[in-house]
Amino acid sequence: MTLVSAGLVITARSPINSAMALVSTFFFLAGIYVLLWAHTVAVMQVLVYAGAIMVLFLFVIMLLNLGDAPHRGKSSVTRLLGGASALGLLAVLSVTLGRTNPMPANLGPQAQATFGTMAAIGQSIFTTWLLPFEAVSLLLLVAMVGAVVVAKSRI
């Protein structure tokens, strides 16, 4: 299902359809995250991606009032090259992954209780990864200011 909706993202004619397909992809991915015992990240996936970012996308699409893109038949060499290399990469990766067979780690009951919980991640972020965390917060601030500056027609 994830792959199908992802396929829709890249094939849909209209950006709105693409965006909708992307939303469904995100939801499916969130489900897969839960399977990987990553509940917190799954929740964030839904909140941030499916919520905030997609709203942003839709908002921009509405703002620009884009309809169906007139399909242009001409395909350049580079475009073909790019598509081919993406497919080639997929092939190579599948071959590689096909040769390995790792299994999930066998977590004890103690670890099962904490693995992937908000508490564990929060603990980790605010102790070991505090500096990157602060850097990211700064990045978001800069991005916010930058977005306003770039998008504004006149300053």
């Binding site: 995250y33 475009r79 790792p102 991640i121 990864w129 990211v136």
Partner: protein
């Protein structure tokens, strides 16, 4: 228990589809969505490896990736709006400004 390989294969497939979209589609908005798709594929690998090693650092990385993706989306869309204002198009073929 599902072997990690399947998750990784799914991530690889998503990544390559995103890449395909980035390289093939002409609409800048769709290109951005495909970039989000690629970032998600990366997140998936992070989480899969975290599960494989039973280690929380993968989750933290995924968290940071999400934050960076949010920033990237905000800036990217702002640029799209600015470009649309000045050129009236969001088609990447029309924006060949990287030529001196």
């Amino acid at each position: 228990m599902v072997p990690i390989t399947y998750y990784l294969l799914l991530a690889a497939a998503l990544f390559c589809m995103g890449m395909f979209g980035v390289l093939v589609r002409t609409n800048a908005l769709v290109v951005f969505m495909c970039v989000e798709l690629m970032l998600n594929a990366v997140n998936l690998t992070f989480l899969a490896f975290a599960r494989m090693h039973g280690d929380g650092i993968g989750h933290v990385s995924a968290f940071f990736v999400i934050a960076v993706a949010a920033a990237e989306a905000a800036i990217g869309l702002a640029i799209v709006i600015a470009v649309f204002r000045s050129r009236g198009s969001v088609n990447v073929d029309d924006i060949r400004t990287m030529k001196h």
